[in-house]
Subunit: 235 residues, 2 copies
């Protein structure tokens, strides 16, 4: 069976690292040692090392050796494992809180950028791609107004998941045909208005309502035209 032999070797080496009680910074056995240990060529061990290096388990130094770097964070849930509804709910919870936070830290420069993006959205309504890009940009700008890189990072992650989710792409392609775009634009305007007022609760409510509208739109689309989404939306 064993397609991807280097991966198996890489996993075995991970186990070795753990079981041998290696500490961060410690030197690993050399490629040649592992090659002999596993009875394969050094090439394969080297490929396994590259895998571990990409996954940030080890650091490889020419002429010196390879060193245990860290036991990296667990892998996050995979993009395709999450349904659009679950994703939107997460966005609603997070982004509304972020909007409230942003209302207290937003600068004039931030507000200007948001205004520009809003106008861009309006101008690009006819283009699915560009309107979507501007939409994403607007939400990211709100997060950036918090001055907190981790919050920005989380919003970006959620949007990346959305844009990479095949189910979303299918649904999203139908949206611009409808009149929803206008509603979303008004929603964004409301968010911006509350941010201008530095009204935390107002911004929270505006963002919450916006995503509530998006959820409803998504639900109507999936309900009327694609009954095959049943059970998946709520996964």
């Amino acid at each position: 069976m064993a397609a991807r032999l280097y991966k198996e070797i890489g996993e075995q080496i991970k186990q070795e690292i753990i079981q041998s009680g290696l500490s961060v910074g410690d030197k690993l056995p050399t490629e040649r040692v592992y090659a002999e240990l596993f009875g394969v060529s050094r090439t394969l061990v080297r490929e396994a090392f590259i895998m571990l290096e990409i996954e940030e388990w080890i650091e490889v130094k020419k002429g010196s050796g390879s060193y245990f770097k860290s036991r990296p964070l667990e892998h996050s849930k995979h993009v395709s494992d999450v349904g659009p509804f679950e994703l939107l709910q997460a966005r609603q919870v997070m982004e509304s809180a972020i909007a409230a936070c942003a209302a207290q830290t937003v600068t004039k420069a931030d507000l200007q950028k948001l205004q520009d993006t809003l106008e861009l959205e309006e101008a690009e309504l006819h283009s699915v791609e560009k309107a979507n890009a501007a939409d994403r940009e607007f939400h990211l700008l709100v997060a950036q107004a918090t001055q907190n890189a981790l919050l920005v990072d989380n919003v970006r992650r959620l949007w990346d998941m959305r844009d990479n989710n095949p189910m979303w792409q299918q649904l999203h392609s139908r949206i611009p045909e409808s009149s929803y775009s206008d509603q979303w634009l008004k929603d964004h305007e409301k968010v911006l208005t509350q941010l201008r007022k530095r009204d935390a609760e107002g911004a929270r409510e505006a963002m919450w309502q916006h995503l509530e509208n998006v959820k409803r739109t998504l639900f109507e689309l999936s309900d009327t035209e694609s009954p095959d989404f049943d059970g998946y939306l709520f996964s």
Copy 2:
């Protein structure tokens, strides 16, 4: 200069993929083609392909070829790049919103688990390791009560960052000596009480206040004992 040549080649191939307008599922040029194109051996291209495979850009099929899989999510901010204060602020914004959400979806089973964990925290106050683990468990359980895997995932990510952050470890090691632990325990009890009442705003406020207390504690510790943290906390 260029240690890790395979990484450079991998990055160049990524650019090629983007610029050539390749769609998901499309076949990539063969390893041999890239080898000739870049004027290197196939071995290096193969190593670059392994990198792209680990990063989920491509899928490699023996005898057939390599195929564009997806343009994966951008790498998140690295653990060590973020200061404890920024991390806590992110947790405060997110976890308070999550607590509010959880108040509306929490089950009796969830409440029982939270209660058990709370008792465990109380019993393990003397052990830094175990108290910390129970602390983490409590916050994760709150997130799990939302029934939303993405929210759980985000909380877990933030805690992973905390536990892997060297600066936090340094600060954290001093905390159990103090009386703060008692305060945190009471905070957790308040959160649980609000969840029992299914009071969203109450839960939000309780969690917010809890993390406000943590922030204050951290600030006092870093202020009084470690002036060298200046400028880093607010990065």
